[in-house]
């Protein structure tokens, strides 16, 4: 079971230890930290996993940490835990993208459920990121002419319209299209469109404007899978 580590940040040693034990007993890998700063120092974004985060921490609070991670465009899913049943705070946390907000003490089933949801989200985000990186790499392999054809195809044009627009013969368009499908690894045009759309690379596929330098990162941002 190596689809992610559960990072626990809580200032209370016993709670930390108990959660470590409990989550390990559920069959997950666990790392614990006594403070937000300790977590930030140790965590590398490429590590898959999720964060079980106490809201109220000395120094940087849980909400502050959430904010900081967001600023760093690190999309690790967060499950908040708190000794305070503070509703406005919970709302704020969830609005800022937290998976959920659990009030201490909580049942192991609830915790397990939230952890698994968080890990699933993490996996999906990473897969999506990987996919879109892959699609992007393939798009790079297309020739300028093929990109132009793709752009028109994405706009829903049929071969004849593409041919007229680009002043090509229909035959040539068909050849381009077959090449594109081949290079992109798609079975047919609808699948191709889905692939490009999902990876969020349609603007690159548009090809007319130069691609912004950081656009590659934005595809890894915290867009929920749903």
């Amino acid at each position: 079971m190596t689809h992610g580590t559960v990072f626990v940040v809580d200032d209370e040693p016993d709670v930390r230890d108990a959660l470590n034990l409990l989550i390990r007993s559920m069959g997950h890998q666990v790392q614990t930290f006594p403070s937000a700063a300790a977590f930030l120092a140790a965590y590398r974004p490429e590590q898959p996993g999720c964060l079980v985060l106490d809201v109220r921490l000395p120094g940087m609070s849980g909400l502050d940490l959430q904010q900081r991670l967001r600023e760093q465009e690190c999309a690790i899913p967060i499950v908040f835990i708190s000794g305070h049943g503070d509703i406005p705070m919970a709302v704020r946390a969830v609005q800022a993208g937290a998976v959920d907000f659990l009030v201490k003490p909580f049942s192991d089933a609830d915790l397990l459920d939230r952890i698994e949801r968080a890990l699933a989200r993490d996996r999906q985000q990473r897969r999506q990121a990987a996919e879109s990186a892959d699609v992007k790499a393939r798009l790079e392999r297309l020739t300028p002419r093929e990109k132009e054809v793709l752009r028109l195809l994405l706009r829903g044009a049929v071969n004849k319209m593409v041919a007229r627009e680009l002043d090509l013969s229909i035959r040539t368009v068909e050849i381009h299209r077959a090449r594109i499908l081949h290079k992109m690894g798609a079975a047919n045009v609808p699948q191709l469109i889905r692939m490009v759309m999902r990876s969020g690379s349609e603007r690159e596929a548009d090809g007319a404007q130069p691609v912004p330098a950081d656009a590659g990162h934005s595809t890894v941002s915290t867009r929920p899978a749903s």
Partner: protein
């Protein structure tokens, strides 16, 4: 000396001489040969009057006038010099005596008139003695009959002075002519009446059978008394001179009610008559004038005090020893909404002082310190008022004869105090609720941590044990989890119960709240000699808050600062509160010049039950942070650059500001 000054000197020297000369020539008409003495000598009055009124410097021209008169009468220059010296000596003596007695020239006091009469007789005694001696020296009669001559001279000098001196002494241009025209008319009428009566009586103008001779001479008395009652002594003196001149003239010529015997006897009788008329009438005029002046002074003084009392906003009430109102100022009547006559004579307790505290306080009026102070609430027609009374007893021979009470309407002050007190109570109430809530929250947090550990450990145990562990063991651990969960639920309910009420949020002005709190904590700051400085940004948009809660936060933070400064006996004793707009929030900073906090404490300063103060609950900052966070703001603590602490909190605006360009 300029020409003008020379002229003045000439006038001031010439007039006395001329006046004496004229009076002397008139007097010479009353010399009855073979005697060399005149029977009335008005020049004596001229000399005394001028010497008294214008100073002894005028003696020289007077003496010159006397010298001229004596030469005119046919005396040898040597004797004339002696006569002039004698007349001057009498005038000098009389004038000096009058000055010494501080007689006022207006003769408007009884004592002035009496002193003047005495001085006239004294001056006449001196001058007549010397003149009689000179006359004997000049004449050939030898020294027999000297006493009689002296006596005649004295009578003549005294009579002349009595008629002329008051006129010269008292007449003054300023009040000779009375003001309104009716009084002038009256004066003229009296003068005409006196002249007419004198003429009719003394010139024997009436048919002989109607002239009843001597009794008619009393006809002038009522007129003179009328004048004495109505006019100043100066005018009475003029009328007396008028009457005397007419009477003397006709009597000298052998007519009038006194013309029964030889002229000499007739004139002496007339003198007695004139003296009996003149002295009492002048005395009466002076006495009445004196009384009028005193009355006016009293009236003025009364008016002054009445003005003081009636134009006071303070309420002034006077009661007699029995507590019955004898005076109530207009302000009092206005406040009570009743006219003064309707409360005069009523007991004070009908109007005020009817409550027990006031009655207790009033006991102090009847024994030392014979004064009292009390405040009372009074329902009047103009509404409910708070009055503060200061009352003082007036003592006469050790017994209370009256009570003077001064009241002040302190309604505004009382209302303000009451409002402040209510506000404080409200604040205290909110403070208690918040403290309870915070305590519950803190307790919940503190207990939830171990409960969380318990359940987590137990649940981990269950998982580690697996399905086929000892059922008893599993059940026991399940019970641990269930009970820990129940404990957490109880704590949660308690919190929910305490947290139930949350005050209404309204748009409020931060600066206004800061000012209100500054006023609230001012006494405490003052007591600890801490200066509160407010540095408030103008034009701040309103924030959406529960004002009473923000008050509480401000009070907590400022009071903490004051206590920190007081406890550390800091040399710099100031707390600065600043407000400023920061993005879409209003930021409030509270900086103190206290000792600040140890770095280790800074991290946990907002934790509940953490306090640096002896006996502190450690909830103030924790509550403050909860309140600020509930408002959607943040509260931070940081050490201040120059020592001390800075607390900073932000509050969201009631309405978003439009985004600024750039």
């Amino acid at each position: 000396m300029t020409a003008r000054q020379l002229g003045q000197v000439a006038i001031s020297q010439t007039i006395p001489a001329a006046a004496y000369l004229v009076a002397g020539i008139i007097g010479l008409h009353f010399v009855l040969p073979p005697s060399q003495a005149a029977l009335v000598w008005p020049a004596a009055g001229v000399a005394l009057g001028i010497a008294f009124r214008f100073g002894l410097r005028r003696l020289l021209p007077l003496a010159a006038g006397a010298f001229g008169t004596a030469l005119y009468a046919g005396f040898a220059p040597f004797h004339a010099v002696l006569l002039a010296a004698s007349a001057s000596a009498g005038a000098a003596f009389g004038a000096a005596a009058l000055r010494w007695a501080a007689v006022r020239p207006a003769l408007d006091r009884l004592r002035d008139v009496l002193f003047a009469v005495v001085a006239i007789m004294g001056a006449a005694a001196v001058s007549s003695l010397l003149i009689a001696a000179v006359l004997r020296l000049a004449g050939s009669g030898g020294w027999s009959g000297f006493a009689e001559l002296w006596w005649l001279c004295w009578v003549a000098d005294a009579m002349g002075a009595l008629l002329v001196f008051p006129v010269i002494a008292s007449c003054c241009r300023r009040y000779l002519w009375p003001q309104p025209w009716q009084r002038r008319l009256e004066l003229v009428c009296v003068a005409i009446a006196v002249a007419a009566v004198s003429w009719v009586v003394y010139a024997q103008a009436l048919p002989p059978n109607l002239a009843m001779a001597r009794p008619l001479s009393y006809l002038v008395f009522p007129l003179m008394i009328w004048a004495a009652v109505r006019f100043r002594p100066a005018k009475v003196a003029i009328l007396l001179l008028l009457h005397g001149a007419i009477a003397l003239y006709f009597t000298r010529n052998g007519a009038g009610p006194f013309a029964a015997g030889p002229v000499r006897e007739n004139l002496l009788s007339l003198h007695a008559h004139l003296a009996m008329l003149g002295v009492p009438v002048l005395a009466l005029a002076a006495a009445l004038r004196e009384r009028r002046v005193a009355e006016r002074a009293l009236r003025d003084s009364e008016a002054k005090y009445r003005l003081l009392v009636e134009h006071q906003t303070e309420l002034v009430v006077k009661t007699d020893a029995g507590g019955r109102i004898v005076f109530a100022s207009p302000s009092t009547c206005e406040l009570l909404g009743v006219p003064e006559p309707s409360i005069l004579g009523r007991p004070l307790r009908d109007v005020a002082a009817s409550d027990p505290t006031a009655e207790d306080a009033c006991q102090g009026l009847w024994q030392p310190p014979y004064a009292c102070y009390f405040e009372q609430q009074l329902d009047t027609r103009s509404g409910r008022h708070w009055l503060a009374w200061v009352a003082k007893a007036v003592l006469e021979n050790g017994a209370v004869s009256a009570v003077v009470a001064v009241g002040r309407d302190i309604t505004d002050r009382r209302l303000a105090e009451e409002k402040a007190r209510r506000h404080l109570q409200e604040l205290a109430h909110v403070g208690r609720i918040s403290a309870m809530g915070e305590m519950a929250a803190g307790l919940a947090h503190e207990l939830n941590q171990p409960l969380c550990a318990i359940t987590s450990y137990s649940q981990a145990c269950l998982r580690l044990l697996g399905k086929d562990a000892d059922p008893e063991l599993r059940r026991a651990i399940e019970r641990v989890v269930a009970n820990a969960t129940r404990a957490a639920a109880i704590i949660g309910q308690m919190r929910a119960f305490v947290r139930k009420d949350s005050p209404e949020h309204t748009a409020a002005d931060v600066n206004q709240m800061v000012r209100e709190v500054a006023a609230l904590v001012h006494p405490e700051a003052y007591q600890h000699e801490v200066v509160l400085e407010l540095d408030l940004a103008s034009g701040l948009p309103p924030v959406l808050v529960a004002p009473i809660q923000i008050h509480q936060v401000l009070v907590n933070l400022i009071r903490n600062g004051i206590e920190a400064i007081a406890a550390a006996a800091s040399p710099q004793r100031a707390i600065r509160v600043r407000t400023a707009l920061s993005g879409q929030q209003v930021e409030v900073r509270i900086e103190d010049s206290g000792p600040g906090l140890a770095p280790g404490l800074l991290a946990e300063v907002f934790e509940p039950f953490v306090s640096t103060k002896a006996g502190g609950l450690g909830l103030g900052l924790s509550i403050s942070r909860s309140i600020i966070e509930a408002h959607g703001g943040r509260l931070f603590a940081a050490p201040r650059a120059g020592g001390g602490m800075e607390f900073r909190f932000s509050l969201p605006l009631a309405e978003q500001l439009p985004a600024q360009a750039g």
